[in-house]
């Protein structure tokens, strides 16, 4: 506990110091990470803590963004709020729209809830381009940051600090809420809303409030986005954004407060880093998500927790062979996948297909990848990924065996790790039970 507090404090100090260390473009990237982190965190209040999976959170992000733009003053109009307070507009409008949407959608649970959120978001998405005065038609709206408090907000650094303060404040507020009586009830809502109503709580009001708070924090994230790019258009309501946040949140891990923040930050970072290197980042992201859902349902945060619990249980000396083997296996399999995907992408690209046709039945020209030339017809080009996959699979097996030996050796000891495993499984299992009950 003390360790994690220290780590968080260190991370915050580092975030404040970043502009002194990093280049402008990197500061911008961190700015995006912060916004994505807040978005995922706000989404997780509803999804992870209250157990209501929304497929339409882009709506509240977009609403927050447009509300902030309107407050900023469109096309030279006067600003309604001083620049540092602009996200308040996103928060207020987000809260109100969340209150309305939440009142409707939390009347139903499970899949029906998800479908209503999706329908509401699509409703907005299809109507937005026709509502010119609100969303500026197809072109969208743009605004301008005005100087305030002696700051110009003209530079990226100013914007970065504005984002940082708001994101930390909003996440801090959300964490504080989890420690209040209401925050505890939100968890109970996920666990068993039926029982909650027989304990005298109004489950519908509770759900609506949670939805509204989640939309409010999401609105702040949207507002910060609008401030940093000074524009927005109706595409912000697209399903893609709603999907992104689901992916980020689950990859990070929904059962831990910091999970989604971690997930969103990591995925946005890699997204930024990878966009220069590959066109297939979204494919990798999808693969990561599916792998997480299949083999690691507690996400990155769950993995970290399992690791720390195991480090406490076994000595590092015993554990490191397993870790090393797992890392090697992950590395080999990742390399195999990346190589295959990138190779395919280059061969299938239009330019290359044109070249190939010009070769006129002869051998296809080589492909440039990882600083080397690869012939599509040669055995090495396709043998390499196969070797990588086989070797990766072999190391997975080695790691598993090692792990089993380690567990058997200490099976008489208390099973701390198991309880952590169970934690993840149990919540999902109880969810399952609830769904069954609903169906009956």
């Amino acid at each position: 506990m003390k360790h994690s507090r220290f780590l968080i404090l260190a991370a915050i100090v580092l975030l404040f110091a970043l502009p002194a260390i990093l280049s402008h473009s990197l500061v911008n990237a961190v700015n995006q990470m912060l916004i994505a982190a807040l978005f995922a965190c706000a989404f997780n209040l509803l999804c992870g803590q209250a157990g209501m999976l929304s497929f339409g959170h882009a709506a509240y992000f977009g609403i927050g963004a447009f509300a902030t733009l309107h407050a900023m003053g469109i096309m030279g109009q006067e600003s309604l709020l001083p620049t540092p307070l602009l996200p308040l507009a996103g928060a207020c409008v987000g809260f109100l729209s969340g209150l309305a949407a939440g009142w409707f959608s939390t009347k139903r649970t499970g899949v029906y809830f998800s479908m209503i959120t999706l329908a509401l978001a699509e409703l907005l998405h299809t109507m937005a381009p026709h509502l010119r005065s609100l969303f500026g038609g197809e072109a969208g709206l743009s605004g301008m940051r005005y100087p305030a408090l002696g700051l110009t907000f003209g530079s990226d650094i100013h914007v970065y600090y504005l984002t940082l303060v708001w994101v930390l404040g909003a996440i801090g507020l959300q964490y504080y809420i989890t420690l209040t009586p209401y925050g505890r009830l939100v968890l109970a809502l996920r666990e068993n809303s039926h029982r909650l109503s027989f304990l005298g709580y109004n489950v519908h009001h509770l759900g609506t409030l949670t939805f509204a708070l989640s939309a409010m924090l999401t609105g702040i994230a949207g507002g910060l986005q609008a401030i940093s790019i000074e524009a927005s258009n109706y595409a912000i309501f697209d399903m893609h954004l709603s999907s992104e946040v689901v992916l980020n949140t689950y990859i990070g891990g929904v059962n831990v407060f910091l999970g989604p923040i971690l997930g969103a930050a990591v995925m946005t970072f890699f997204g930024n880093a990878a966009s220069d290197l590959t066109r297939n980042w979204l494919l990798y992201k999808g693969i990561i998500f599916v792998l997480v859902m299949m083999f690691m349902p507690t996400g990155i945060a769950g993995l970290v927790m399992m690791l720390t619990a195991n480090l406490r249980k076994y000595s590092a000396l015993l554990l490191w062979p397993v870790l090393l083997l797992s890392c090697i296996a992950t590395f080999l399999l990742t390399m195999g996948t990346v190589f295959t995907v990138e190779m395919m992408q280059r061969i299938l690209s239009q330019d290359y297909q044109m070249l190939a046709q010009m070769s006129d039945g002869g051998e296809w020209p080589p492909v440039q990848l990882f600083g080397r030339q690869w012939l599509p017809g040669s055995l090495i080009s396709w043998g390499l990924p196969v070797v990588l996959f086989v070797a990766g699979g072999y190391f997975v097996k080695l790691a598993k065996n090692r792990w089993r030996v380690l567990q058997e050796a200490s099976s008489d000891q208390s099973s701390e790790t198991d309880s952590i495993h169970n934690l993840g499984e149990m919540t999902t299992e109880s969810e399952h039970e609830l769904n069954e009950r609903e169906k009956a």
């Binding site: 999976l53 479908m115 494919l283 859902m293 299938l348 999902t428």
Partner: protein
């Protein structure tokens, strides 16, 4: 009159197409409780498979082969993905199919590029069925409607008249009971998942040539198909048919209606007042054609959450 007839025809055909895709989805949900986000991915796969195969074999065989391939894809998804996470619950399954749909769309972009293909109706089928109000009505539209109708009949008869159908229906309504009676429910699940995916694939193979075949077609159709199954009632085949037609017709008719709320108020003599309000008031019905299905779904979910013909609450 011309507008009415054409809209009626087009709307019906579009509705029948929607049904072809939603039939599998609604059966799968009814049976397994899984809302399969990847379902329209099979629609897209069907279209792309048929498009690819056409370069090598003729039109109809490639349609059939594409259908089979899409069905095979469905079986793989059920057997090797969904079944593994079944114990984590429905929300988890939903998320997994969501991830798979994401991957499939990205793979399609990888293989075919992020732009529409030139998948077209073959020349041999490119003629008009009849003339109506001086314009040609393409025979291919009728063909799509015919295939969909034929499929509805086939599935309906299969479910209501055969032994397999009885087992499947019992697995849909009482999976535990069917298992206790000694039926291999996992096999039935896999079968229905495969058939559902094949139907979606068939729809894609046929419709992809007429509408467009692009990497976004799964997502675009996906949300509409969700609307269909929710409006019709999750698990109800007849409901899916009814809802498909309602949504097909309403979107087809809405496109041509240039009225707005202002006109409605004008009818009561308050047109100028409404015009002054602007915003929502001035929206024309035609520009809302994409919105109507979602509004309909919201109303249904709030008024009659089990859907028009849904049996499960």
């Amino acid at each position: 009159m011309e507008y009415f007839t054409i809209s009626l025809l087009n709307g019906t055909v579009y509705g029948l197409l929607l049904f072809m895709v939603s039939a599998g989805l609604t059966l799968i949900f009814g049976m397994m409780g899984v809302l399969n986000f990847a379902h329209t991915s099979f629609y897209m796969l069907g279209a792309y498979f048929a498009y690819t195969l056409q370069k090598y074999i003729s039109f109809w065989p490639s349609i059939i082969l594409a259908t089979v391939l899409a069905g095979g894809g469905g079986i793989v998804v059920e057997r090797y993905f969904l079944r593994r996470v079944h114990r984590y619950g429905h929300a988890h399954e939903l998320l997994l199919t969501f991830g798979l749909s994401y991957i499939i769309a990205e793979l399609i972009k990888l293989f075919y590029g992020n732009y529409p293909t030139n998948y077209r109706v073959p020349e041999s089928l490119h003629f008009s069925a009849f003339q109506i109000f001086g314009t040609d009505y393409p025979v291919y539209r009728l063909l799509m409607g015919g295939i969909s109708l034929g499929m509805f009949l086939l599935v309906y008869l299969l479910l209501s008249r055969t032994r397999v159908g009885i087992v499947v229906r019992s697995a849909i309504y009482r999976p535990r009971m069917a298992e206790a009676l000694g039926h291999n429910v996992p096999l039935v699940f896999m079968g229905v998942f495969g058939v559902g995916a094949a139907l979606a694939g068939l729809a894609g193979a046929v419709a992809g040539a007429f509408y467009t075949t692009n990497p976004n077609m799964a997502l675009e159709l996906g949300v509409i198909v969700f609307v269909v199954v929710v409006v019709g009632g999750l698990g109800s085949l007849e409901g899916a048919m009814l809802a498909s037609l309602i949504i097909g017709l309403s979107s087809s008719f809405a496109v041509g209606i240039d009225l707005s709320l202002v006109d409605l108020f004008a009818f009561f003599g308050a047109g100028e007042w409404a015009q002054g309000l602007g915003g929502l008031m001035e929206l024309k019905v035609s520009s809302l054609s994409a919105t109507i299905p979602f509004a309909l779904m919201l109303i249904i979910l709030l008024v009659r959450p089990s859907g028009l013909l849904g049996e499960k609450g």
